[in-house]
Structure formats: structure tokens, C-alpha cells
Amino acid sequence: MIEERNKERVGSLYRDVWDQFKKHKGALFGGVVFLLIVISVIVGPFLWPFEANAIDIRSRNQGPSFIHPFGTDQLGRDTLARMLAGGRTSIAVGLCAMALTIFLGTFIGVTAGFYKRLDGPLMRLTDLFLSLPLLPLLLVMMLLFREPLSSAYGPERGMFILIVFAIGITSWMPTARIVRADVLALKEREFVLAAISSGSSNSLVVRRHILPNVLSPILVSATLGIANGIITESALSFLGLGFPPDFPTWGRLLNDAVDYLQQYPERVFWPGLCISLTVLSVSYLGDGLRDALDPRMRKR
């Protein structure tokens, strides 16, 4: 009986969040756009007849046509196929980097908030990471660890691991701070005290009572994490320190297009638009989620 009622209430909580989320027009729109982009980069390469790396030198440097709606590049590769394949990589990097960021941030935030002894050192560590010049260090990491990882896992997979790892360890700090603050407040609440005094182990308390209650800031940082991951990957690829040249990502395509800026200025448009649109949609999604998940933020 009680369980049933609980279930109903949980359902109504999520229904409530969804109702609130629906009201936020920008968030709904952002969510739909992001979903469309993700679906098209996952399904697109299977449906589109051209390969991303198939060279057809006879039809190089073509403008938009019926066969190549976005035109072709200097080696006759179909731009739409490259955009779809590039989007796959860019979004995969964004999602994986977000997952790592959230994992690290939540782990450090919960540990610091829950164990008083570790709070000081972990927060000093967070401050230290926040004081690091991140973009230069990212560039340096790319430069230094590119070759060993490439030889160990192959050029593409090695680069993927390196980029995800580098973004992850340089962007967990804000999440950790927010989560820690929430955990500190939660720890003093009665239900957590009750759980502790009834003999629950620490890990059970964290899993059962703390984590579900810090879910909303985590979700919001997750959306920001995706945006950050995509932008950082594109920036690295743009500076020529990302994926290898024949491996398309949106940043890489933009970088390639810059070389032909005088002759074919329209080429920079598609990758740039895709990066911006994805990041914009994710940011709006995050905005809406924050409003929907936090009842105090709602417009009265």
C-alpha cells in the first residue's frame, strides 16, 4: 500500500517536472533540436549514400547540387556525409566528456560534502584546478600525449580517449562545488540523520538518500558539460591539435574550410552553424531543466 502510494508520488513528481519543462518554450525547442541533431548524426550515415572519406577527385570543389546538397570539398568528398560523420564524433566526445565530468564532479563533491575530514583538502584541490590556465594546459596535454596514446590505441581511438579524458579532468570543478554545497545542506536534514541513526551504511545513505536529492544540479551541469565538451573539442580541432586531419569532426571541418576562405567562403558555414546550434539547444535545455527541477526558480 505504502509502496504503491510512493510510486504514485514519484510518478507525479516527474510529471510535475515535465509539466514545468513543457511551459518553458525555449527549453522544449532546445530539447527537440538537440534530439533531432543526435538522431540525424546517428541514423544519417546509414541512409546517406556517400562515404565521409570516399574521394572522388573528378567532382571536387562543387557547389550545392541535387546530388551533393552541401557541395563537395577539395578532394571531392561529399560535405553532407562529412558533416554527419563529424557530428557523430563531436557529439560522442561531448557526451563522453560530460559523463566523465559528471562522474568526477559528483564523486568529489559528495565525498567532500559527506566526509568532513576530506572536505578541506578536496576543496583546496578544486580551487587549485580552478586556478589552472585550462586552455593552454589542454593544448599542452594534446601535444604531449598524442603520440603515446595514438600508438597504443590507434590514431583515432587514442585521440578520442585523450580528448575525452583531458576535457573531463579540466571541467569537473563547478559540478563538484555545487554538489558539495547541496550535500552539506542535505546532511543536516532529518531524513538523512534518521537513515544514519537507524544504522544504514554510509554508501547506502549516499546512494539512497543523498544522490537522488542532488540529481537536479547534476542534470543541469550535465547539459552544460555537453556544451563545454563540444566547444572544447572543436576549439582543439580548430587549432590543429585535435583529431587527425582525415578524421572529420565539426571543428576539424571548420578548420579545413578556413584554408579555402577566399575561394569557397560558404564552406565554413555548415560546421560552424552545427556547433553553434547544438550548443545553443543544449544551453536552452539546461535553462529549462533548472527552472523545472527547482521549484524555487519557477515564475510565480
Binding site: 587549485l128 603515446p148 556544451a227
Partner: protein, 335 residues
């Protein structure tokens, strides 16, 4: 307040030392060799001597200590000598770039004005645009102006500088041909014509960077003004019969500026990070350009020095922001 500043300084110094250690170790433990470009015909013992000449033969802690001494003791002496025509630094080993074989700091000093000029100008422009927009957005909350402003700052967040920069180049340089796409650092302003050219070549990089600044500062300004507009003292001011203009500019603006000023201070170093990419897009021959060139060329001393200078900026501006916050807002008491 004084004890707070002293305490913060004592935290800042170990932070800086640890950061310099991180930067140093990351670069020195990495598997790369500055002698990799030397021809294979050079015998190994000569290579070993060359390595020692670069200071690579010693244990790592001694290298680190030497680098610290060079950065914090010898380089300031050079600056002192330059300013006051003394000879303290004569004959002392400075940080030498492997790429150009000249002191790193000399190149930094050559490059810094371009960066400061472009970045500083864009920061000022961005702030000057953002403050009134943020204030007015808050005053007319949920109006069309507010929604458009929010949307524009969302765009400023989402459109990375390497796209917005390239995009304005396509429009204004390639299509319209109004503005030069490459920043000419050798250009000097002597008369009206050269001044006009200088303005023309600065417009695009400054606006691209300013868009990002505007996006951030605008949001902070809006939320800070919203907080203040609902305060009792605003109602009191209205009840006294002050004009809206006076209420907004004198009461709300000044109080909203307190958190915004700290945000402005904290963000100064990050602007240099953003400038890294913008400099690359517009080929501005600045410090970010130097860093990226050094990274490509495997020039460890330059990379270490510039990266550490960025870290130094971040730590000192954080400290500065804390102090300003305490000075501006008497309600904040640190001790």
C-alpha cells in the same frame, strides 16, 4: 581586512608554487625530446652535451628550482635594470627559448602590447555594451527587449569565437571587402589615414571578443539588478518622489555593480584564454599566438613561462576580486 588580505596572500603563494610544479612536471615528464630535430649524423655524446647545455642533464628538482629562480628572481631584476638603468642581472642566466635562442621574456614583451591592445579594448567595449543592456533588461523584466537580450547573450555563449570570427571575416572581408581579415601588427599610427586603418583592422577581433564578454557580464548585471530592484530602499526612493532615472542610475546601478565588478575582475584572465583562439583566427601576433607557436615547436621554456603567467594572472585577479568585494560592500566581513 588587512589580516584577510595577508591570509589570502599566504594561500596564494603555495597555490602558485603547486601550479608551477604541475606545469613544470607535465611538460618535463612527457615523452618528448628537444633533440629530436637534430640530424642523426650528430654523434650521441655531442647530443648529450647539447642536452646539458639546455639544462636537461640535471635531476628534475634542481631543474625546477632553477626555473623558479629564473622566473621569480632573475627576470624581475632584468625588468628593474631596464626601468632604472642598473646592472643587477648582468651575466645571470635568463629563461631562454629553445626556438629562438633569445630570452623568453623579451619575446613576451614584444608580443604583449598587441594582445593587451586587442583584448583590453574588447573587454572595455564588451563591458560598456553589457552594463546598460543588463540593467534595462532587469528593469523591463520579461519584455521583448529582455527576451532579445537573453537570446543574444545565449548566442554569445554558444557561438565559439572560431566560428563568429571566421563568419565576420567571410561577410566583411571576403564578401564586402570593407575590413582587412589579417591584423597587421607592424602598422603604426602616424596620421589620420593610418589611424583609420588601425580602427578598421581592430573592429573585427574586438567585436568577436566583446560578444563573449557581453554575453557573460550582461547576465550577471541583469540578475544583480533584479535582486536590487525588489529591495526596500528602491521603494523608499520611489516614495520619496525621486525620478526613475535617478533611482536606476544612482541607487540600483551602484549597488548592482558590487557583484558585477568582482565578476569583471575574475574574468580578466579568461579573456586571455579566449584571445588565444581569436588571435589565431585574425592572425594577431600576440602572446596567444606565441604560445601556440611554441607548443607546435616543442619549445618547453616558452610554453612553461606563458602558461605560468596565465596562472599567475588567474590567482592574482581572484585575490583582487575578493579584496574589491570587501572594499565595495561593507556588509562583507571576512574576519
Amino acid at each position: 581586512m588587512i589580516t584577510f588580505i595577508i591570509r589570502r596572500l599566504f594561500i596564494a603563494i603555495p597555490t602558485l608554487v603547486i601550479i608551477s610544479l604541475v606545469v613544470f612536471l607535465l611538460l618535463n615528464l612527457a615523452p618528448n625530446d628537444p633533440m629530436a630535430q637534430v640530424p642523426l649524423t650528430v654523434p650521441p655524446e655531442v647530443k648529450q652535451k647539447m642536452r646539458e647545455a639546455l639544462g636537461l642533464g640535471q635531476p628534475i628538482h634542481i631543474q625546477f628550482f632553477k626555473w623558479l629562480v629564473q622566473f621569480f628572481w632573475i627576470e624581475p631584476q632584468v625588468l628593474f635594470d631596464y626601468l632604472f638603468n642598473t646592472t643587477f642581472s648582468e651575466g645571470k642566466q635568463r629563461i631562454i627559448s629553445w626556438q629562438t635562442r633569445s630570452p623568453v621574456m623579451d619575446i613576451v614583451v614584444q608580443r604583449l602590447p598587441q594582445t593587451l591592445w586587442v583584448v583590453g579594448m574588447s573587454y572595455v567595449v564588451g563591458i560598456l555594451i553589457a552594463l546598460p543592456i543588463g540593467l534595462y533588461s532587469a528593469y523591463k523584466q520579461y519584455s521583448i527587449f529582455d527576451n532579445v537580450g537573453t537570446f543574444v547573450s545565449m548566442i554569445g555563449y554558444s557561438v565559439p569565437p572560431f566560428f563568429s570570427g571566421v563568419f565576420v571575416i567571410v561577410i566583411f572581408s571576403v564578401q564586402l571587402g570593407w575590413l582587412p581579415s589579417i591584423y597587421d601588427t607592424t602598422h603604426t599610427v602616424v596620421d589620420w589615414e593610418t589611424f583609420k586603418f588601425q580602427v578598421k583592422q581592430m573592429v573585427m577581433p574586438v567585436m568577436v571578443l566583446a560578444l563573449q564578454t557581453t554575453a557573460q557580464i550582461n547576465r550577471f548585471m541583469r540578475s544583480a539588478s533584479l535582486d536590487n530592484l525588489n529591495q526596500d530602499y528602491v521603494r523608499t526612493a520611489r516614495a520619496k518622489g525621486l525620478t526613475e532615472w535617478t533611482i536606476i542610475t544612482v541607487h540600483v546601478l551602484r549597488n548592482s555593480m558590487i557583484p558585477v565588478v568582482t565578476v569583471i575582475a575574475i574574468n580578466v584572465p579568461y579573456i586571455f584564454g579566449g584571445a588565444l583562439i581569436t588571435e589565431q583566427v585574425f592572425k594577431v601576433n600576440g602572446i596567444g599566438h606565441q604560445l601556440i607557436g611554441a607548443i607546435y615547436a616543442n619549445d618547453l621554456p616558452t610554453v612553461q613561462t606563458i602558461t605560468f603567467m596565465f596562472a599567475f594572472l588567474i590567482v592574482s585577479f581572484n585575490l583582487l576580486a575578493d579584496i574589491i568585494y570587501g572594499l565595495l560592500d561593507p556588509r562583507i566581513r571576512y574576519d
